[in-house]
Symmetry: none
DNA sequence: TATGAATGAGATTTCATTCAT
DNA sequence: TATGAATGAAATCTCATTCAT
């Protein structure tokens, strides 16, 4: 009990830093200087490096957090009555999350922690997609990995239109999801990635 | 005569530089140092700045070139017999182009030249889409701007999968295009962007 | 009684810290971070600064300790039967000590405590050398200060040969001591330092 | 001819930098900041890194220069009439050189260029010592490598005495050289290093 | 008293851009 | 006109030291 208080402080600062980093990255991209993040968090530059020895570690922490939350969501939705609606809701929530910050959490080597978090997410999403496919809610030839990469689309797309309204991603998610439905599906020219 | 050869030289250097920049950006991203581009072109660093006063100008020139070529393609396809196939071919060619270098040519302020080139592209693509929509080849509620942003998707998506096969983008273009077809289209939650 | 145990604790920590610092400096040089010393001692970083307000103070304490021990040794040997053998043994022990950690304890301003310890060592070594010289064990023109600086040689020399065997210093101490003997001594071009 | 002038400038700056680095290292040790060297040379910080991509490269260049000059000297003296005097002169010159800056040029991995320069020096000094030994000018059991490491002694020793007169090293070189003479040589306890 | 979180000055290094030759 | 040397403003990261708990 006695040693909780200093740690509470450190935990609070860690949160402050993550929030500041998310905000700063959202505004200026991942090239935002660490100093700006520290300033935004109201902390010293060195404190950032105490919590995250490398800038990459900071990025990895954010990604990890995000991926973990998505995994939890996918698992929650894994037992929903309507498997198709569950998948759509997952993709919707994922896009809404990504609207805040679009760090691509699939690329690059961000360390083992992120890698295993990604593996868990992949598994959870695959389960979600498999179920939707079995119920005929999505086309036969779509896989969990497909959804994993496609769920980034709506936000990526909107990034290209600087002045666009905040909710525009919903439009493209809808178009994309129509492409995943069984109705009017044409055969795909390439096999799904591993 | 005397002043023709220097101009020919300058034009050749400009081409060399653009090619070198495309290659360098493709390999190392837009953060590739100007020095590397100069070296690759077999020219001095100062020559780069003589042709392109700023690194951004160099990027803008590449984007401009690319956009202009796409505009020409869109115009060529504007008279094809099958409007739907023409649109698909346009998006396919655009994706194939982008496979080489995925500078997002829609974002950011790259100067007036790029802006007007973008406007022309927008106009040409809108014509293409309008025609396809009138023939019933794509859904009623899709616009030229939609296609303009969506045609970046296949490559953007594949970027997230480092080890993926080179042609994987074809898979996602197919899914996406199925989403643009009239069959099984669900109403879209947001209006198209301007 | 009540205040005895904290003092005992403090003394123990001081020793732990000195030992850890010696080890760390030996492995990584004086640039070894204070944090590493604290970790090696199993103490907090703050504790280091409680005992030694400055990193320099920590270095000074080590030097002081070392110098004091050498002084004791020199005094012990001051009454030995064979004055020449006593001097050789002193230099041998000094070199062996220095093999563990070669902080040069003569250079720099390390504070008054070190300065006075150095003065005492100087006096003791001078006595040792004077006696050896009187007995004809060393050449006429050699002084205590000469020995003081020369006794660092064997280790300094070996430092230049990274892969050298641990005992190589003995070779160079032998050569050096031969240079201090009266046999075959040539006149020295410069007077001894103060 | 026409392209000599820009290079002349660069060469001059390179020399300026080397000189400034030697001076700065001599005053403040190798930990002297690169910025200080640049300032002393009257050049920008970036210019240092144009000439020497790394601080280590700068150190290596200095060492290389020094080693190369010593090699030339050793070779020059290799044909002198009096082999013993030649060796003494070599060690004297080496010490005088080192008096300006005592970068230990034997330790550490400074890159292949330095390594090969060191090898050449070693060979030249070995020739010098072998000849002296054959003429009976130095003791039987001394090698080129011994001299290579011992020639650093006089300066190392004097470093420990901050206020000492500039020529004090001559005194210790004399003592050391007496230790290398055949007269009064005692057997050495350790074999020579490779 | 002991701890270790926070600090911030400073070190190395990169790179777009300028300018003398 | 072409070159590449010079510049200096960041950016990342380290570490001695302070201070709240």
């Amino acid at each position: 009990m006695a040693d909780v208080s200093p740690r509470a402080d450190a935990a609070r600062n860690r949160s402050l830093l993550l929030a500041a980093a998310v905000a700063e990255f959202a505004e200026h991209g991942v090239d935002a200087p660490v100093a700006a993040i520290a300033r935004r968090a109201g902390l010293g530059k060195g404190t950032v490096f105490r919590h995250f020895p490398t800038k990459d570690d900071l990025v990895a922490a954010i990604v990890c957090d995000r991926v973990t939350r998505l995994t939890a969501l996918a698992r929650d939705l894994g037992t929903a009555a309507d498997a198709g609606a569950a998948l759509l809701e997952f993709m919707t929530s994922a896009a809404r999350e990504r609207q805040r910050l679009d760090l691509s959490f699939l690329t690059g080597d961000l360390g083992s922690e992120v890698t295993s978090a990604q593996a868990e997410l992949s598994e959870a999403v695959t389960a979600l997609v498999d179920r939707a496919r079995e119920r005929g809610a999505v086309r036969d030839d779509v896989t969990g990995t497909d959804v994993l990469v496609l769920m980034c689309v709506p936000n990526d797309v909107v990034k290209h239109l600087p002045g666009a309204p905040a909710q525009l991603w919903e439009r493209y998610l809808a178009i994309l999801f129509d492409g995943l439905r069984p109705e009017g599906a044409h055969p795909l020219p390439q096999p799904p990635p591993a």
